[in-house]
């Protein structure tokens, strides 16, 4: 049975570099990603962590950096810490940041290899539109969408 994937496309008035930084710079994601930061040196093979910014530094998602073609393409694996050792529970996220005409980018997030029927699949289906809407608001207005 093929593993489900979720694709979300948004257009943002920002440069590819700004979108890349918003996703990868340690304290930038914290501005809009629902109280989480993304921590990594982003070198291929390095690990990355999705950490809570509530003072606990608790890690909610872990993975490995698979591809880094700054600022156009970033590929990471994605799993909950308890599922990281089980290949069936490790999914893959591709961020594609393409310049669009003069002043916008098209950001395509493809989250694939998800476990059919899983909580993770349900969670990311709700989560990506929330996070990427907040990212767009933050880059275009300086404030995340107030949710």
């Amino acid at each position: 049975m093929s593993k489900p994937s979720f694709v979300y496309v948004t257009y943002i008035r920002a440069t590819p570099e700004k979108v890349w930084s918003a996703i990868t710079e340690r304290e930038m994601a914290a501005q809009y990603w629902g109280c989480h930061r993304n921590v990594s040196d982003w070198k291929v093979g390095s690990k990355w962590e999705h950490q809570r910014t509530d003072g606990s530094d608790a890690v909610d998602i872990v993975g490995t950096v698979i591809e880094n073609e700054r600022p156009r393409r970033l590929v990471i694996t994605w799993a909950s810490p308890s599922g990281a050792a089980d290949p069936a529970k490790v999914s893959r996220v591709v961020f594609e940041i393409e310049p669009h005409k003069d002043e916008a980018v098209r950001l395509t997030v493809t989250h694939s290899d998800l476990e059919p029927g899983s909580e993770m699949l349900r969670g990311i289906t709700q989560g990506w539109p929330l996070v990427l809407s907040a990212l767009k608001s933050w880059l275009e207005t300086g404030k995340p969408t107030p949710m």
């Binding site: 979300y8 496309v9 948004t10 257009y11 943002i12 008035r13 669009h100 005409k101 003069d102 002043e103 916008a104 539109p129 929330l130 809407s133 907040a134 767009k136 608001s137 275009e140 207005t141 404030k143 969408t145 107030p146 949710m147």
Partner: protein
């Protein structure tokens, strides 16, 4: 018209917008807004269930026509969509587009659902799947920044061929 129960959701797009349900409703239903973000088309809708619905080119010609199925401001607007303005697409049957507008904390959650009553091939669904993110991203920018995005609407390469095939074989009649 095709029995509503036969329409199944095929494409769903969700976006969260820093605005109010009333403003999002206006942006979806008033031409002074749609001309900014909806590829230049002006919406022309009779504001009631059963009302006539059009998306018009700047010169007034009809691009899309339909009927209002649900009119419940500011929460739910759905209407049928029949493509009239593009010759290759004219044989396709109607689809159903539904906008749901919900308060989500300090923002509005807008869910667009495109539904069809026949087994639409992915190559034909690709049209909406490439168009809706562009249109609704620009709508969000209009409401949050006052400025639409300059987006080139590029139909996917296989779309026209796939539509021609569908119109030739009319699988919805089988």
């Amino acid at each position: 018209m095709t029995d509503l129960a036969r329409f199944k959701p095929k494409t769903v797009y969700v976006t969260y917008i820093a605005s109010t349900p009333e403003k999002v409703w206006d942006a979806l239903t008033r031409p002074e807004f749609t001309t900014q973000y909806f590829a230049g088309f002006a919406v022309d809708v009779e504001p009631k269930q059963g009302g006539a619905f059009f998306l018009r080119y700047p010169d007034g010609r009809v691009h899309i026509s339909g009927r209002v199925i649900e009119w419940a401001p500011p929460r739910r607007f759905s209407c049928t969509w029949l493509i009239e303005g593009m010759p290759d697409f004219q044989g396709l049957p109607e689809s159903l587009v539904t906008y749901e507008i919900e308060q989500a904390g300090g923002a509005v959650k807008l869910t667009m659902t495109e539904a069809h009553f026949w087994a639409v091939p992915d190559e034909v669904l690709a049209g909406g799947r490439s168009g809706w993110p562009a249109i609704l991203s620009s709508l969000k920018s209009v409401l949050e920044t006052g400025k639409a995005l300059d987006i080139k609407m590029e139909p996917p390469a296989e779309l026209v061929e796939a539509v021609k095939q569908a119109v030739a074989t009319k699988p919805w009649l089988k």
